[in-house]
Structure formats: structure tokens, C-alpha cells
Symmetry: D2
Subunit: 204 residues, 4 copies
């Protein structure tokens, strides 16, 4: 299972981008393979004029398509996600997040924009068919600093919230790795299938 991080900040060295890279590093420590998709590196013309067939857009869409987990980070501008992020989401197929687990992250100037993720981004992710959109992690700018080596430093509270978000994502992905046989399955209905690899989970 692959993980993709999508950064929606128009800035090169944004707080939301650094928070996202930090989350990716933690996920790799848990054994996940992560890919990066900084939307700002996509060709601007293609993005804004909806050129679905531009090679870099095609490749970015393929990155999304092959990921099972997606961590999306955006700054909050004008009480919502960035236009840059939305420009990319606009280019995905209608069910472009189908079957995927999404962890949303956001940064904002103050706590006053905390609800932007849940009210603005969550419905868009639902419209894209996401399987699960996990509890979002919101950080104020003041909660994200730098250490002497230029590494990211999080406030203890943010560190804990991010840790919970990552653990939730990690657990959810692990549970999805177990093949599931629904009610229609001859062999699996009504019981757990055990003892042979890969592990199989049937409807209880």
C-alpha cells in the first residue's frame, strides 16, 4: 500500500508543507512508503486551464490513483482550503479518491479557522468518493517552529494531535490490508478465515 502526500500551499517553504513532510517522515518510520505531490510544482497553466492531458497532470493523477492513503495539507485562506489545492482536486476524476483513506492537515493564523477543514474540505473529499476521511489535524502558525538545524518543531499539543492522526491513518491502512469477504462470498460468510496467508477477513 502506498501513501501520497499532497501539499496545497502556493509557498515553497510553507508551514503546512513542513507539517506535511514531518507527517510523511513519521509514516515512513512506521514502515510506509510515501510519495510526494507538491501541487505548486505542477505546471500552472495546465492546472488552471484544466488541461487533463498534460503529461505532468496525467502523472500526478496516476500518483493519486495508486495511493491507498492520502495526506492532504493546505493553508487556510479566506476561511477555506487554498485555491491551488482545489485546482488540482478539480482535475481528478469524479470518484478520484474512491476507496482511499484521507488524513487532512491544515494551518492557519489563529484557532478561528479550525472549522474550515471540516466545513469546506471534508465535503469536497466526500464528493471525490473517499472511503474514510479521518479526523483532521489543524495547527496554528505559532505551533510550528524550527530547530537549530532547520528541522520542524511542533508544539507538544500539536505533536500529540498529529501523532493521533498518524496512528489513526496507520491503523486504518493496516485493517484495509486484510482481504475481506462479504456476505456474498461462499467461503467467507459469517466467520473469520484463518490460518492461511494472506489473512482473510469475512463478515462476522
Amino acid at each position: 500500500m502506498s501513501l501520497l502526500t499532497i501539499s496545497g500551499s502556493p509557498s515553497l517553504n510553507s508551514r503546512s508543507g513542513r507539517l506535511l513532510d514531518h507527517a510523511a517522515a513519521r509514516l515512513r518510520k512506521l514502515g510506509h512508503v510515501t510519495e510526494r505531490l507538491p501541487v505548486r510544482e505542477l505546471p500552472a497553466e495546465a492546472l488552471l486551464h484544466a488541461r487533463f492531458d498534460h503529461p505532468q497532470i496525467v502523472e500526478a493523477s496516476a500518483q493519486v490513483a495508486r495511493a491507498t492513503g492520502v495526506v492532504i495539507a493546505t493553508p487556510v485562506y479566506k476561511a477555506a482550503y487554498s485555491g491551488l489545492l482545489k485546482s488540482f482536486l478539480d482535475l481528478l476524476p469524479q470518484d478520484g479518491l474512491k476507496g482511499k483513506v484521507v488524513l487532512p492537515l491544515a494551518t492557519g493564523g489563529s484557532k478561528a479557522h479550525l472549522l474550515a477543514l471540516d466545513y469546506a474540505l471534508r465535503p469536497v473529499l466526500a464528493a471525490l468518493g473517499a472511503r474514510y476521511v479521518l479526523a483532521s489535524v489543524y495547527a496554528t502558525d505559532a505551533e510550528i517552529g524550527s530547530d537549530s538545524d532547520g528541522g520542524v518543531l511542533l508544539s507538544p499539543e500539536l505533536d500529540l494531535r498529529l501523532e493521533e492522526g498518524i496512528a489513526h491513518l496507520d491503523e486504518t491502512l493496516a485493517r484495509l490490508q486484510v482481504p475481506f469477504f462479504g456476505a456474498a462470498s461462499d467461503e467467507g460468510a459469517g466467520r473469520f478465515v484463518r490460518g492461511n496467508a494472506p489473512l482473510q477477513l469475512a463478515r462476522a
Copy 2:
């Protein structure tokens, strides 16, 4: 694992309530145990004046607390969930849906209110700490009829959407039944534990 259905319609014989009962019947066929919580049967005074300690409110909260899966149905009024439903959700603890899987259903006069579930209800369920809020199922009034015995009849399209929602809920609950050991677990890290009941799932 128990399932709870919460009906938020102020009417005794509402379309959203009938859709909900139908969903519950399907879930029971899959082996689930379901409880009912029609909010309209709670004492109105206690509900509206936030009397958290009224015995029936205490019992209703306990019903929510012990459920792992919750199916919530509401009519769409004025572009959002019913005030009746929200009155009950207001009485739950801040994290009253923590760890729970929620399937939202709604009915409305036309397709024009489809987004009310995702834009209005979903953020409230997120605020209540729901683990997963599944893709919502929206039905227009015209899609819900009656057969000659008074049973509910769904349009084929609605029937399919409801079936998908129920299958998603069923699968999600089945996956949650498998104990999960995260990275910190000595015995489970990095592998699947097999061969003994209950089945245990460790982070891959």
C-alpha cells in the same frame, strides 16, 4: 458490536424513518443486532432545555455510548438536518461519537438538497469525534414508496445506493472487530498474528 439507528424526523411515519428501518432490517439480515432511537419519542422538554440528567436522555446517551455503528437519518429541512436531530446531538458529550462508525441517511423533496448531508451534518459528526463517517445516502421523497402491505419500496437506484452504504458499514465494522496492535506492541509489530481466536491484526 451493536448498531444503533437514530431517527431525527419529527413525524411519526416519515420517509426518512422508513428508510432507516429498512436499512436496519438489512443490517439484521447480515447478522447485526440493532437498537432503535427515534428522537421524537424522547421527552420534548428535556430535549429542548438540555436536561442531560433526565432518565430517558441518560438512557438514550447510553444507547449511543454502547453502539459501535450508528445509522443516522434525517429529513432535510431548510437546507440542513432537522432541529430535532440536532437537539439530541447537542446533548451528547463532546466526544460522544468517539470511535464510532456513522452512516448518514437523508431524505429531501428534490435532488437540490443532496449536499446538505455533507456540508451540514458531516462537520457536526466530525466535531463529535466519529471514527469514520461513511459516504452518505440521500433519497428524494419520490424514491421511497409503499407496497400493498405497507412495506417500504425503494427506487432501484436508491436501493443500490443504500445497499452500497450498508455493505460499507458492514465491512467497516467487521474490520474493526479484529484486535489491532500498533507499532508499540511487543508481540504484534510488523506482522499479522494468526491462528488463535480472537483474530489479531498488527500494523504491517
Copy 3:
């Protein structure tokens, strides 16, 4: 022109209710006549079970119908307006706020719920056909205190925001008092009508 204040708090002595009464007092000082509609005083059964024809509901709806300006106050619960407030709004006709100017107020435990008014309440007010929904005024609980006589004390910042909201409402209502003749009007098209009472405003 009459003004109506609608309080959506389930509590008798709520911060949102006190903020609302304070706003009403200021509006009266500006010469407005204000009526009160504390939703919690309406019969709970009638409210929750959608008994449109209950005399007190009929009277409350009539209060709304005859108001040109409406100030609505709600506590933020679970990232949205109170269920009590919504229960009342659910009982209004589809275009129950048609032609009206609405000033929304809300109180919450922290700044983190500031967006609830704009994301949750504003679309509902739009669905009810409000002519103008003014910029909302949000207050944290800590910004609303009491003086030694039990009167309300606002933080200076809140006082200023409320003053701006009230001035905006006052100005908007004043502008609406001037009869307007649109393009179709024989006498008024293209000019301002002056010099005779009542003042008449024609499309410029």
C-alpha cells in the same frame, strides 16, 4: 419597521441570550421598536413535533412575519447552531425570512468555533430567503461578563464588533425604508424622486 430578536439558547440565563438582549437595548436607543422571541419559551412538544398550528407557534411565526429586521443569537454546540434554534426555523414557511435583514450573533467556548455561524447558519438563513444576512458577530464566553448590578459587560473588542453589527443593521433598515421604484416604474425610472414624503428612491 419592527425588529425581532430570536434567542436560540436552551438555557434561561445564557451568554448568547444576554448578548442578544444587550443588542436589542442598543437598537432601541437608536429608535427601533424590538420584540423578543426566546425559542425556549415556546411549547417544547409543539416545537419538536412540528405542530405548525399550535397557537404559540402560530404567534411566533407571525412575529417573524411582521419583522423587517431579525437578530438571531445562538450558542455554538457541536460546531453548529443549537438544535433548539433550528427546530424553530424548521417551522417557518419555506421563504419565512423573505425580504428580511438578519444579523446573526453567536457565542462559543473558544475562537475555534467562529466559522460555525458562516458555514452552518448562513446557508440556512439563505434557504429561508433572507434579503440580507449581515456580517455575523461571534463572541467567546470569556468576552461576556457581568457588572455589579447583574448587567452585561462586554470586552472592548466584542463591544466594537457588536456596535459595527448594529450600525450595519440600523443603516440597512433605514435604506429599506425609502420606497424604491425599479426600472418598470413609470414615474421613477432613472432618477431620484425628491421633495415629497415619503421619500422615494428610483433606480439610478
Copy 4:
């Protein structure tokens, strides 16, 4: 008073853009002067990378700043406004719509996305400080056609809704042209000032 139309469609010949141009033509017939701002014609790099100081961005911001009325049109993508439109709104100052009257228009594939305007765009416009955001006009693609000369043809229902939106905008702008003296004004308080040009309106 000047009017600005902002088109947020990434397509050159979009339905939302044609609806917007049609609205502008009607407004000109009512005597208004209109300017155009098709966001897709702004330099994509500057837009996406938040280059506030690019000459064309500076000029576009100035267009917004000098307009009293703004008509904004967007297609509905993924249950919300276009990323292109939001990219431009992100570049405006925090109170970039302060004092302005905004009429939102949108087009979508079906009625199912009608609420996107009120739930997604309205809060963003509120965050930008708009004085009044008028009732939005939503059109399905099927309601917008072409006549034999390539002109736009609207369904009768859409035509009526657009007419109402335009009349509301026109009236609102006319009312704003009348100077208003609030309570603090020495000369105007408590009465209408009449009989001298320009007409002056004092708080009643």
C-alpha cells in the same frame, strides 16, 4: 458606482461565463457600467504562486477595489467553487470585498449541486467582508443553451431567477447611492434629509 463581473471558469466558452456575460448585458441595460475580470486570463504562474505584486494581479485587485457591485460566476466542481476562482480570491486582501454587494452565480451538471454556492462560496465571501451577499442564482447546464446567432438562451425558469437576482442587485446598489448619516451625524440624526441633491438618508 461600477460593477465588476468575475468569471471563475477555467474554460474559454463556459456556461457559467456565458450566463455571467448575459447578466452583465442586462445590468448595462439598467444603466450600469460593467467591467470584466475573467480569472482564466490572468497569468497562471502569478495566480497559483501567490505573486501579489505581478502587474496583472495588481490591476485585477484594483478592479475589485473600485467596484461597488460584483457578480461572481463559477462552475461547480467537486461540490464547490472552482479552484481557479478561489486562487484569485486568495490573492485579495483580507477585507477585499468590504462594503461591496455580491451576486453569486453558478452552473452545475444537475440540481444536486445547488447548495454548493451557499455552503461553500458564501462563507468565503463573508470572510472577505462583503457587505451583502445576495441570494445566489444556480443553473443546471441544461438550462443554458444557444440561439442560432450563438447568443445565450436561458430556460424560462432560469431567466426569471436571473432577473430577480439582477433586480435585487440593481435595487441594492441604488439604495447604497443615497448618502447615509448615522446616529453620530449632527445634521442627519433621526430624520430623512430631503430636498437637496444629492439625496441624503439619515437614520430614521
